[in-house]
C-alpha cells in the first residue's frame, strides 16, 4: 500500500484537468435540448403495418388507413357530417326507376400519381373505373388472382354476384346494371374499399410481368402519392401536385408505425408525432389534461366481440357458447378495458343504428349457472381452450390481450383453462382465416351507416370464405333474413327482418358482443384540419401544421 506524498500532490492538479473536461462535455447542451425540426410534413403515428396498399384486398383498418383516403379516391364519398353520399370522382349519377341501372358521370382532368416507377400519359377515364371493379368482380380477369383472389369486402357483401354488367358509355360515363335492386348499393360504392386504380399502370405491369406490384407500389388519384414503406417502421408519402381537389398544403406525409399505444402517446407528447390514431382508453384522461394536445371523440359505428369457432367441437353447441357467455362479466370488462368510454353491447349493431333494439336483454353474469351448463354439456373441469387476442388496438377493442387475461381469470373460476394466443397482426388474420382458433377477441368497424354492413360481413355464410366471419357460423335462416331485408327500402320494413336476425343471434350466440366504443384521435395543438372520419379510415388530406 502506497501512502506516499507522490500521489497526494498528483490529485490536486488532476482535479483542475477534469473540471475542464466536464465543462467541455456540457458545452453545446442548449443546442441539443431544443427540437429544431425544420418541418415540411405531417407525421401520423399509426398502429401497425398494412398488409398491402389496396383496400380492395383487406378490410383491416390499418390497411384502409394507409391507403384509402391517402392514395386513392372513390366514385362517391360520405359527407362526414350526415353520412349522405356525395360526389367524388363521379360528379353526378342517375338511377333507373326499377333500381337496376346506375349511370355515373366521371370527373374530367383527374390526374394519376407520377412517381419514379410510373409516369401516367392520360387522365382518369371510364376504363380505369371498369378495371377497378372488374378486378374483384370477374373471376377470369387478368388481375383477379394477383393477390390470391379474395376480396373480403366485396365478397362478404356479395357485390360480385349483385352486379350483372358494367358498361362503358363513353370515356367519362359508365353504367352499372344490377341483378336485383339493393338499397345499400350507393353507400357501398362510397366505402373505403371501392377505390379506383389506374388501368394504364396495370397494363404496364402486365407487360413487365410484375403484376403483384400493383398492390405494393400503388398508383391512385388521391391527395398523396406513395414513396416507400418499411415494415413495422414507416410509410412515406409525398403530396400529389396535380390533385383534383383542394390543393394539399403539406409537402410530406409520414406514417410512423408504432404498435404500442403508450409509445404513440409518448411520441405525441415529445412532438415526434403530430397526430396519432387509436389512443388507449386508459390514457384518454392524460391527453385531455395535457397542455398542447387535443383529443377528438365521436360515437363509433363498431362492435367488439368474442367469437367462437362454431365449426369446432365443443363450440358448435349453442349451450356451450351460452355457458361461456354466462361466465364473463361484460360490465367489469368494459370498465377495465374501455375505461367507461364504451357501452355494453346487446347485439352486433350499436345504438346509433336503426336496427338496434333497446328492449333486447343481455345475459347476466352468473358463474354458477355457467358451471352447471358446462357440466351438462359434458365439459369437465380442466377443459382447455384457447382465446386468440389480436395484437393491435382497435377502437372496438383497445386491448384485446388484457381482455383475454381477464377472461382467463373468469373462465378459471368455472373450471376452464385458457391459453392466450397472439401473433403479429397480418399472421394473426391469416391464421384466423384458416380457422385454427377456438375463439377470438376481435371486432368490426362499419364503413357506412347501413346495418347490412354489420349483419352481412360478420355472420353470413359467404363471409366465411372471405374471412370476416370469425365465428365460422353459417345459418341459412339468418342468411335469408338479411337477404330479404335488402329488397326493401323503407326502414320499418327492413327493421322487421333485422329484429328477427337479432333474436337469432341472441339465441345461437355464435359470438358474444361485448362493447360499442367511441372513436378517438389525438393530435398536437398546432395541427389544424384533422377530423374524425366516422365512416372508416383516417383522412389526412386537409391537415396542416403551423
Amino acid at each position: 500500500m502506497i501512502k506516499s506524498p507522490v500521489l497526494y500532490s498528483l490529485h490536486k492538479r488532476g482535479k483542475q484537468a477534469f473540471c475542464v473536461l466536464f465543462t467541455l462535455g456540457l458545452f453545446g447542451c442548449d443546442v441539443l435540448l431544443t427540437s429544431t425540426n425544420q418541418t415540411t410534413g405531417i407525421i401520423y403515428c399509426s398502429e401497425g403495418s398494412p398488409t398491402n396498399f389496396n383496400p380492395q384486398l383487406d378490410t383491416s383498418g390499418t390497411t384502409v388507413d394507409a391507403s384509402s383516403h391517402q392514395i386513392y379516391d372513390r366514385l362517391l364519398d360520405f359527407d362526414p357530417q350526415n353520412g349522405n353520399v356525395i360526389p367524388s370522382l363521379a360528379t353526378s349519377w342517375t338511377i333507373s326507376d326499377d333500381g337496376l341501372k346506375y349511370t355515373f358521370q366521371l370527373r374530367k382532368n383527374v390526374e394519376f400519381h407520377q412517381t419514379n416507377y410510373f409516369v401516367p400519359s392520360r387522365a382518369l377515364n371510364a376504363d380505369d373505373v371498369i378495371f377497378s371493379f372488374d378486378r374483384w368482380r370477374l373471376k377470369d380477369h387478368p388481375f383477379h388472382m394477383v393477390a390470391g383472389g379474395t376480396y373480403p369486402y366485396a365478397d362478404s357483401l356479395g357485390l360480385d354476384k349483385l352486379i350483372a354488367s358494367i358498361n362503358r358509355i363513353n370515356g367519362y360515363r359508365i353504367e352499372i346494371v344490377l341483378h336485383h335492386s339493393q338499397s345499400s348499393f350507393l353507400a357501398n360504392l362510397a366505402t373505403d374499399f371501392a377505390v379506383i386504380l389506374s388501368k394504364e399502370y396495370a397494363d404496364q405491369l402486365e407487360i413487365k410481368q410484375l403484376k403483384s406490384k400493383i398492390d405494393s407500389q400503388p398508383i391512385g388519384t388521391g391527395p398523396f402519392k406513395f414513396v416507400n414503406f418499411r415494415q413495422d417502421s414507416f410509410i412515406r408519402y409525398q403530396k400529389h401536385d396535380k390533385y383534383w381537389g383542394e390543393s394539399i398544403q403539406t409537402e410530406n406525409l409520414i406514417f410512423d408505425i408504432t404498435s404500442s399505444s403508450s409509445l404513440r402517446l409518448a411520441k405525441l407528447i415529445t412532438g415526434e408525432c403530430d397526430a396519432m390514431g387509436l389512443p388507449a382508453h386508459s390514457e384518454l384522461e392524460i391527453i385531455r389534461q395535457s397542455k398542447g394536445l387535443v383529443l377528438d371523440e365521436k360515437p363509433g359505428l363498431n362492435v367488439g366481440f368474442w367469437a367462437f369457432n362454431t365449426s369446432k367441437p365443443p363450440f358448435n353447441k349453442p349451450e356451450v357458447r351460452r355457458a361461456l357467455s354466462l361466465a364473463i362479466d361484460k360490465n367489469a370488462l368494459i370498465e377495465a378495458i374501455y375505461f367507461d368510454s364504451a357501452i355494453v353491447a346487446k347485439n352486433i349493431v350499436p345504438p346509433t343504428s336503426w336496427a338496434f333494439q333497446a328492449e333486447q336483454k343481455n345475459l347476466s353474469y352468473n358463474p354458477s349457472a355457467a358451471k352447471k351448463l358446462l357440466q351438462e354439456n359434458g365439459i369437465e373441469a380442466g377443459f382447455t381452450m384457447n382465446v386468440w387476442a389480436m395484437p393491435v388496438e382497435r377502437a372496438y377493442n383497445p386491448n384485446a390481450i388484457k381482455m383475454a387475461e381477464l377472461i382467463q381469470g373468469y373462465l378459471q373460476a368455472v373450471g376452464v383453462k385458457v391459453n392466450i394466443i397472439s401473433y403479429e397482426w397480418s399472421t394473426f388474420r391469416e391464421k384466423l382465416k384458416q380457422g385454427d382458433h377456438d375463439s377470438v377477441l376481435i371486432g368490426w368497424s362499419a364503413d357506412n351507416g347501413d346495418p347490412d354492413n354489420f349483419y352481412r360481413p360478420l355472420l353470413s355464410c359467404a363471409a366465411i370464405k372471405s374471412g370476416t366471419n370469425r365465428a365460422m357460423w353459417c345459418s341459412p335462416e339468418y342468411d335469408s333474413l338479411i337477404d330479404q331485408a335488402l329488397h326493401f327500402t323503407q326502414i320499418e320494413d327492413r327493421q322487421y327482418f333485422y329484429y328477427k336476425a337479432n333474436a337469432l343471434i341472441a339465441e345461437q350466440l355464435p359470438l358474444i358482443p361485448i362493447a360499442h366504443a367511441s372513436k378517438y384521435q389525438a393530435y398536437r395543438e398546432n395541427v389544424k384540419g384533422f377530423e374524425i372520419n366516422p365512416y372508416g379510415g383516417v383522412q389526412l388530406a386537409g391537415v396542416t401544421k403551423n
Binding site: 392524460i286 390481450i401 381469470g409
Partner: protein, 297 residues
C-alpha cells in the same frame, strides 16, 4: 472463579474466519449482506406474508396508486397494476421467481461447471487445448447473447430461458475451476497426496476442491447477479417468462403500457431488481476485496 490467563493467547483465525473479519470491516458489504438476507427471507416466506394472490385480478381496483401517494390506499400498499392485481404481492412473488430461479440456475451451473472444469484442469494434450479454445471464445460472448441465441432455437418461455441461462453460465465456472486446478496441481500438498497414491479423482475431490470454496462463492455471487439480470432481461423482452406470471422483468414490460399514468408499475419491479443486484454485488465486492487482502497479508 475465572481461569487465570498466564499467556496471552495468540489468535490464529482460520482462512474462513479471516475472510469474515475482513468482510465485517466493510460496512457497505455488510449492508448488502443484510439486504441479501432480507430478500432470501422474502422468497422463502412470501406465501405467508404476501397479502394477496399475485394472479388475482380485481376489476374494481385498477391502477390504484401506492400508499404513499395522495390518493393511494392502505389495502394495496404498493398499489395495483392495470389488471387490478396487488403490486406488493406481485413484487414479492416476482422476487421469489426471479431470485429463486437464479439461485437454482447458479447452483446447477456451478455443479456442472466445476465438474467439467476439474476434468479439463486434470487433462492435457490436444483434447485440453481444443476445449480451451472453445471455452475462451465462449467466455468472450456475453451470457445474455448466448441465452438469446439459445432461446431463438428453443422458442420463448420460462423453462427455455432457464435452460439458456444455465448453459450460458457454465463456461465461467469451467474456466475458473480449470485455472484453479492447474495452479494447485503443482503445489506441494497435492504432490504429497499424489505420492501417497491418490487417484486423480481423489486428488481433485479431497485435496484441491476443498480449497476452492471462497473462489466459488465469489464467482457464484457474480453469476447470481448476471443470472438475475438475464432472467429479468429475457422476461422484459417477452422471450422468457410470459405475461401473467409474476416475474420482475415481465412485470416491467407490462408496466410500460401504463408507464405514464402509473409510473410506480415500472418503478417498483425495476427497483426490486436493482436492489437485488445491488445487494449481491455489494456482497460479491466485499468478499472479493476481503479475499484479496487476506491473500496479500
Amino acid at each position: 472463579m475465572s481461569r487465570f490467563k498466564l499467556y496471552q493467547e495468540e489468535f490464529h483465525p482460520s482462512p474462513l474466519q479471516h475472510t469474515w473479519l475482513e468482510f465485517k470491516e466493510n460496512h457497505l458489504a455488510v449492508g448488502g449482506l443484510c439486504c441479501f438476507m432480507f430478500f432470501l427471507f422474502i422468497i422463502l416466506l412470501c406465501p405467508i406474508f404476501a397479502p394477496f394472490d399475485p394472479l388475482m385480478q380485481k376489476t374494481d381496483a385498477i391502477l390504484i396508486p401506492p400508499a404513499w401517494e395522495a390518493n393511494g390506499g392502505i389495502v394495496n400498499v404498493f398499489g395495483t397494476d392495470a389488471l387490478g392485481r396487488d403490486l406488493l404481492s406481485r413484487v414479492m412473488y416476482g422476487c421469489r421467481m426471479t431470485f429463486g430461479i437464479s439461485i437454482i440456475l447458479v447452483l446447477v451451473a456451478m455443479f456442472v461447471g466445476v465438474t467439467l472444469g476439474a476434468v479439463a484442469g486434470m487433462s492435457r494434450g490436444v483434447r485440453s487445448s481444443v476445449m480451451n479454445h472453445i471455452l475462451d471464445s465462449m467466455m468472450a460472448i456475453p451470457t445474455l447473447l448466448i441465452a438469446i441465441i439459445i432461446i431463438a432455437i428453443l422458442g420463448t418461455g420460462l423453462i427455455n430461458s432457464m435452460w439458456a441461462i444455465a448453459l450460458a453460465l457454465i463456461p465461467q465456472f469451467i474456466h475458473q475451476t480449470r485455472d484453479f486446478v492447474r495452479q494447485e496441481r503443482k503445489k506441494e500438498y497435492v504432490m504429497a497426496a499424489k505420492l501417497d497414491g491418490a487417484t486423480p479423482f481423489q486428488l481433485v475431490t479431497r485435496s484441491i476442491l476443498p480449497n476452492m470454496g471462497e473462489i466459488l462463492v465469489v464467482q457464484g455471487a457474480l453469476a447470481l447477479s448476471i443470472s438475475i439480470l438475464d432472467i429479468s432481461a429475457l422476461g422484459f423482452l417477452n422471450l422468457g417468462a410470459q405475461a401473467p406470471s409474476p416475474e420482475l422483468g415481465t412485470m416491467l414490460s407490462e408496466g410500460i403500457e401504463v408507464a405514464y399514468i402509473a409510473p410506480w408499475s415500472i418503478a417498483l419491479p425495476g427497483g426490486a431488481i436493482f436492489l437485488m443486484m445491488l445487494s449481491i454485488n455489494l456482497v460479491g465486492d466485499g468478499l472479493r476485496s476481503a479475499l484479496r487482502s487476506r491473500l496479500i497479508h
